[in-house]
Every structure is written in C-alpha cells, then in structure tokens.
Symmetry: C2
Subunit: 146 residues, 2 copies
Amino acid sequence: MEYSYEYFMKEALKEAKYALEKNEVPIGAVVVCNNKIIGKGYNQVELLNDVTAHAEMIALTSAANYLGSKYLIDCTLYVTLEPCSMCASALGWSQIPQIVYGTSDPKKGYTFISERLVHPKCQIVKGILEAECSELLKQFFKKLRD
Amino acid sequence: MEYSYEYFMKEALKEAKYALEKNEVPIGAVVVCNNKIIGKGYNQVELLNDVTAHAEMIALTSAANYLGSKYLIDCTLYVTLEPCSMCASALGWSQIPQIVYGTSDPKKGYTFISERLVHPKCQIVKGILEAECSELLKQFFKKLRD
C-alpha cells in the first residue's frame, strides 16, 4: 500500500459521499497521524441543526479524543473543500502542522478573509483530487436547483 | 426586573466563574432571545481536551438545540471576552444579529484579524462590564504564574 495525498483525499471523499447521501453539502475530512486515520467527519449541519458541525470540526474533535490531547501534533487534516474561517481558526488552535485540501472555496474559504487564520507554521497543500472534490459539490448544488 | 446589557453580561460572568472554578480560562457566554436565556456555556477546552469547546461555541449550539433551528435569528450573544476568529465565524454562520462582549482580546480577538469574520449585518456592542470581565482573566493568569 502506497500512502499519498491522493490516498487520504480519497478517504475524505468517502466521507463527503456519506454527507451527499444524507442531503448535506458534500464535504468530508479525515485526520491522519503516522499514516493512520485517527479522526473522520462529514458535514452534518442540517442533521444536527448546528452551524458548527462542519466536517473538519467533527474530524478534529474526534482525533483529539483519540489522542487524548487537544493538540494535533504530527497530524495532517485532509478535507475535500478549502476550510472556512471557523474551521481554519479551529485548526489553528489545534496547532496541526499540515492541512491538505481538494478544491478552493471562493465564497467562504478562509484564504479570502486572511491567511493568518491558520497557525503560522502550518503547511498548506491544495488541489489534491480537485476535480472529484469539486464535481461532488456541483452535483449537489445542481440537484438543489432542479 | 430591568433587562439591560449589564444584566445579561452578569449572567455570562456567572458562567465565566464556573470555568474559573474548574481551572479553565474564565470565559462565559449566554444567548438571549426575547429577554430569555436560551443557551449558556463556559470555556471547557481543558476538561474536554477540545480546542473548539469555547464558551460561545457551547452557548450557540445549545441555543440552536433549544430553538430547533441552526439560525439564531432575533438572538443576542453575550460573552465576557471578545470572540476569537473561530467563534466570530461560527456566530457569522448562525446569522445572529447582535454580539455583546465585555473586554477586548488584543492577542486572539477576531477584530485583530478581520471585522469581516462576523455577519455583515451583525451589530457589535463592546465594553459592557469590561473591568469585571477583564479582572477575572487577570486573576486566572496571575494564579498560573504564581
């Protein structure tokens, strides 16, 4: 088994597809530590009636529970869509050293507010499986309009 | 009973004092709708090992549960310390129309990143019971250093 950005982004895409099945905006995330997934999440804003129930928030809380530590040292978060300001700030608080995302979000992505929202030492990798991540969102919004 | 900014900030201060008793950074919040408190929270980051467990996040999730709606229309959030970027963004997602805070946070307050983090129509009131809110935090950090 070869681990790669694409390998783990596919896992985040699986999470996004669970969201799609439940008529949630299809966004998924996983937290990886030493090539092991230690937290997962998909967007559950509608199901939980909770604006904070973004994929990243659920994945990071679940990873922190797994580690028994609020800091996600040596972890990477993979998420299908660029994090919003809330999630970027939460990831900043967690001191996670790497964030990998699929497609950009020109409406709500944190980079359109401030790149300072994430931790200054956090490495950002973007554009991994961008087409697949983006296509899932397009399908969802097209279905909403039809 | 006269309701005022000060009245509800005192309630947020009560929450902050619960945090202090549990050796958490003393920050408290309440969500008010038609002069009724429908959500409360105090900082529980250490207790829950969860960087997202800020007073505002707990209070807003609790208020949304109470209302059965993810949008906090006609509500006001009172919090003893200026919200951080994560909480300001979460409050933005909730579309809450008013935020009242006690003391500013020059290190982590959202206004030092971008005032665009809250909803554009959200009214901000600051400096309510500022001395009490600030004193509680000073006590806590002094005790930590001693």
